[in-house]
């Protein structure tokens, strides 16, 4: 028995070389409150829960993305810059060469680098392939499925080389067009008996068969446009959210395939593994969701960082941002971070996740028309108003968003208190004082469609992105 106990003692993981390998996995469009890391009603992400329970893992329970859509969000993840600083999706058409990316830094330090990604936003034309020796990209919004085997094959090859590696894998499993296998399609709501049919990027109703399909992106607001503001859509709202849960479960299955393969290759305890989502998702407006709920749905995302370690798994409740990922990884690997990075290293939290939360962060997130700044106690929300109403590219008018109207909420409260706490408003606005007052809304900037072909524009429009053709009004 003693022999057995001695032989079975937990061993510290050993690195493959002098520097740890790094695996970054992005599950697109996963909001925190629907994952198994939160108190969600469905077990949507059992694999992610399992990763978070491994020794060496730290779950950041209040991680916010820098932007609500992939183009701007991945730019922030890759550069460590907040959304209006890198400007991609707002004022820039592609990543500026003066803003080094995570892959470029790894490459400079001799890492092998590879990306397996998809979608029209994470495109080479927008600068996202910079720094990757291997770049495998699907043009469509595809799930992880087609990336898993190539990524694992690359991993096996990279492990034969002495140099450390950085592997990035990304998929749109929980994003329209929801191409998950049917086993997942309604696994959490088999009892639903309404006439709303979801799947493969469409929301089909009797009405939808006779109106334009662009309105068929799953959303309560689209249904309200079809059926009227006064119709009770509670069942439909629940069904859309549950269908989203099924898509999350499908994505988690693919995450399981990936981590299963990583473990089989012996890489699980050699690499720093980061799993996150670039942004969340909101299906509801009006009476089904207020603006604080919507902000949480869009910006609050899962973030799990697992280091090769025997330290007990932990959760940390401080406010952090996905722009912290770059400085954290570079700090962990003792590399020099780009001087411009907006984020902060979370290495001290990884070293000691029992440390208390300090109320000294103000984390900004952006949509084109709205901003949110989170701190431990407060949330500041600002709307940018589109001046001029309807815009057509054929006209000489340029759509401009601004100025911003601010509202302040204490977390957990629906009461707007900006008048009572002007000093808090001023303090949180300092976090984005460097952002421009007005935004010029060029559709090519917003969608990363500059220099792209009409097929891409068509794909973006089909998925509800604003890529208007001449004569088309803005939503």
């Amino acid at each position: 028995m003693l022999l057995a106990m001695l032989a079975c003692a937990v061993e510290s993981p050993e690195l493959r070389g002098e520097s740890p390998d790094v695996i970054l996995i992005a599950l697109d469009t996963v909001r925190w409150d629907h994952t198994s890391l939160s108190d969600a009603p469905h077990d949507t992400t059992p694999t992610l829960r399992r990763l978070a329970a491994l020794p060496g893992a730290v779950t950041f329970t209040r991680a916010y993305t820098a932007a609500s859509w992939s183009l701007a969000a991945y730019a922030s993840l890759f550069t460590g810059l907040d959304a209006l600083t890198h400007g991609l999706g707002f004022t820039q058409q592609k990543l500026s060469p003066s803003q080094p990316t995570l892959a470029e830094v790894f490459s400079t330090y001799g890492y092998q680098t590879a990306a397996f990604a998809s979608g029209p936003h994470l495109d080479q034309a927008n600068g996202f392939s910079r720094g990757f020796d291997t770049w495998r990209h699907e043009k469509s919004f595809s799930p992880l499925t087609p990336q898993i085997e190539p990524a694992l094959a690359w991993l096996e090859s990279a492990r034969q080389q002495p140099a450390p590696y950085f592997l990035f894998v990304q998929g749109y499993d929980a994003h329209p067009p929801y191409t998950a296998p049917a086993v997942f399609s309604e696994m959490f709501s088999p009892e639903y008996d309404g006439d709303l049919h979801l799947g493969r990027g469409q929301m089909r109703t009797k009405e939808c068969r006779v109106v334009n399909t662009r309105a068929c992106t799953p959303s309560i607001s689209a249904l309200q446009r079809l059926r009227g503001e006064d119709v009770d859509l509670t069942l439909e709202h629940d069904h859309i959210n549950t269908h989203y849960d099924s898509a999350l479960r499908a994505g988690d299955y693919n995450l399981g395939r990936l981590l299963h393969g990583i473990e089989q290759h012996g890489a699980l305890d050699e690499a720093i593994i980061v799993v996150l989502s670039d942004h969340g998702k909101s299906f509801a407006e009006g009476r089904y969701s207020d603006e604080t709920a919507r902000s949480e749905q869009l910006f609050h995302v899962p973030l799990v960082i697992r280091r090769p370690s025997t330290a007990p798994a932990a959760r940390w409740d401080g406010v952090v941002s996905l722009v912290d990922v770059l400085p954290t990884l570079l700090d962990e690997l003792e590399m020099v971070a780009p001087a411009h990075a907006s984020g902060q290293s979370l290495r001290s939290v990884l070293d000691d996740p029992t440390q208390p939360v300090v109320d000294d962060r103000a984390v900004p997130s952006a949509e084109l028309c709205c901003y949110a700044v989170q701190s431990e106690q407060w949330e500041l929300i600002g709307d940018r108003r589109l001046t001029g109403g309807v815009w057509t590219p054929a006209s000489d008018d340029t759509p401009v968003f601004g100025p911003t109207q601010w509202r302040l909420y204490r977390h957990g409260s629906r009461a707007e208190v900006s008048a009572e706490h002007p000093e808090v408003v001023a303090s949180l606005r300092d976090a984005i004082a460097h952002w421009p007052d007005q935004l010029v809304a060029d559709p090519d900037n917003i969608n990363g469609a500059a220099g792209q072909d009409e097929e891409l524009r068509k794909s973006l429009r089909q998925h509800g992105y604003w890529a208007p053709t001449p004569g088309e009004a803005t939503p």
Binding site: L51, Y178, T179, S185, M187
Partner: protein, 90 residues
């Protein structure tokens, strides 16, 4: 020695994910999915596509073959409640 090795073989952190899905849906614990366990609007069609050996049960290999396939096939056309229109088995 063999016992010692067995005792010390670590459990994988991430076991077969297809088995996870099967376990989640296999409410009767039979090790395969029956029509009643398929949580889909049109389980008859799903069974027809996945049940390659036509034994009215979807076993682990049949399930995995569908889950890992790209592009997916069973997602298509599965969103219609055909049974409501009396098209059972369609």
């Amino acid at each position: 020695m063999i016992l010692l090795l067995l005792a010390c073989s670590p459990e994988p952190a991430f076991a077969d994910p297809a088995q996870d899905v099967l376990d989640q849906l296999d409410t009767d614990g039979s090790g395969a999915l029956t029509l009643e366990e398929l949580r889909a609007p049109n389980p008859w069609r799903m069974m027809k596509i996945l049940d390659k050996d036509a034994n009215s049960r979807i076993d682990l290999d049949e399930l995995r073959a569908d889950l890992d396939r790209w592009p997916v096939i069973t997602g298509a056309g599965m969103n219609h409640r055909a049974h409501k229109a009396g098209k059972q088995g369609g």
